[in-house]
Chain length 324, copies 2
Amino acid sequence: MQSTTALSEIIRLLQGSQHVLMFTHISPDGDAIGSLLGLGWLLQGQGKATTLVDADPVPAELRHLPGAGQIIAEPPRARWDAVVALDASDAQRLGPSFHPTEYGDAPIIVIDHHITNQRFGAFNLIEPAAAATAQVLVQLADAWPVPITQPAATCLLAGLVTDTRGFRTSNVTIEVMATAMRLMEDGANLAEIAERSLDYKPLGLMRLWGLALAGVQVDGRIIWTQITQAMRDQVQALNGNDGGLVSFLLNAPEANVAVVFSEKRDGRVEVSLRSRPGFDVSGLALDLGGGGHPQAAGCSITGPLADVEARVLAAIRGVKRTEG
Amino acid sequence: MQSTTALSEIIRLLQGSQHVLMFTHISPDGDAIGSLLGLGWLLQGQGKATTLVDADPVPAELRHLPGAGQIIAEPPRARWDAVVALDASDAQRLGPSFHPTEYGDAPIIVIDHHITNQRFGAFNLIEPAAAATAQVLVQLADAWPVPITQPAATCLLAGLVTDTRGFRTSNVTIEVMATAMRLMEDGANLAEIAERSLDYKPLGLMRLWGLALAGVQVDGRIIWTQITQAMRDQVQALNGNDGGLVSFLLNAPEANVAVVFSEKRDGRVEVSLRSRPGFDVSGLALDLGGGGHPQAAGCSITGPLADVEARVLAAIRGVKRTEG
């Protein structure tokens, strides 16, 4: 059991560390921020000094999480005892604030649940069976063992709820439900977390969905739509986030794969992919310079939008149905 | 404990019954159909003959539930040992197939979780703390006790998942999560149930949402939109169901109350209301001839649409914030 070894080694390392530098991935989602803050609270509860970093700002729907104000874009130059990377498949996903050559003897600890993880740490705890990195952190807390306080439980449940879209994904096992219950027993308020982190759709975003859904297309069991800069301007949706539109598209029984093409100000197009079990989009995303899970992946490609759309749709049509 | 007494009396009655006639409410949702089928499976497992009735057809997204094909619109005239009404606040909600004067000595048993329930049965098991009628039925199965087989677990979990919008509502306690886990242990597949029953959005409905969301309005912390017959015709959404649009509207942080005005072919306007805790819309719905829960209620009013909209919005503005 390689990961059991990694788990105990990582616990030993964290126990012996006083100053811990912690990163999560850019364009952070609920599991990124929830895991970063959740582990932060666990370590702070053990008297450790933690520095929490994300090069990108915390999205509006996650700013209510306890401790969100602690997250900084660029850490100070300092001596660290350990460096932790959370929910990131590779070092690039940690963005420009991650400088692995500058940490001296401090070991890099990678904790993640993405099967595509490149194991770029000195210690790698990768649990693809976990529904969220937050779930791996609950295992870590219990193996340590350290108590999960209310703020930690709130952040970790936010990670679990958002990454499973409210316990909807096919990786939600009885263990995932037990983890959620346990975090509720530790004081997390599920309804409030779901409402504020997962379902949050400001009026501008709701109207943006209206435009995007009115233009949805289906062909050959692929459903897709576009979010252009013109659409964002029309509804005054300033936040770059599309609020999980691609997952919503896959609710159409007419499709097995869903794609959202989202045009960015810098001319790149962010491509979000979702698929039903039996269709693996992670390899395709990896080929296009991105990554992810079999059922949820993404990449970013230089536009124009129409070219990206044609290229990605052709690539999806080449994906064979897998077992399952 | 009145409901404990009702529970044991109802179990005794069902134990002594051979032919059980069962109803659920018209315009059935997942808890109506899930509870009807779930209790049907429990009773069939005990060798009882059951007749399952809904005057309205089973919606497309619930037809995958095991036993859905057993549900009929009008029962034969026959001798029944007991008549059960599920998830219905009053006898009118059972529709034109319910003929209470024709059941002779057969007691009418009401099982529900709506606080507005009129207790119209000879035996009434009303549990407002339960998140779904399906949850009350799990309590009944355990108190009996009878095993919950896989088809029963699937139907009951569908009731729980749909009525809580995937464990999102404020009444989702640790007990609700424990009930869900327990039904998963009994063989229910949560992801499949959520995908097929809760998230099912055929392309036509998705485009209908597009039109409705593009026209969403907000004023004084009320968010609302319309679904007209012209919109349905434009996107060829033939199903009358709006797929939970009103719950989606309440995801806007700008609002505390959400309303969807849905125009029907017969000229009536179905008004669906949702509110955040602290704003009770059940009294308002009751005043307008409908009913429901504090946070989820509805009514049906003769049009035209513009008049209904003005009347309902004025009534909402009169609702005072309650404690909580």
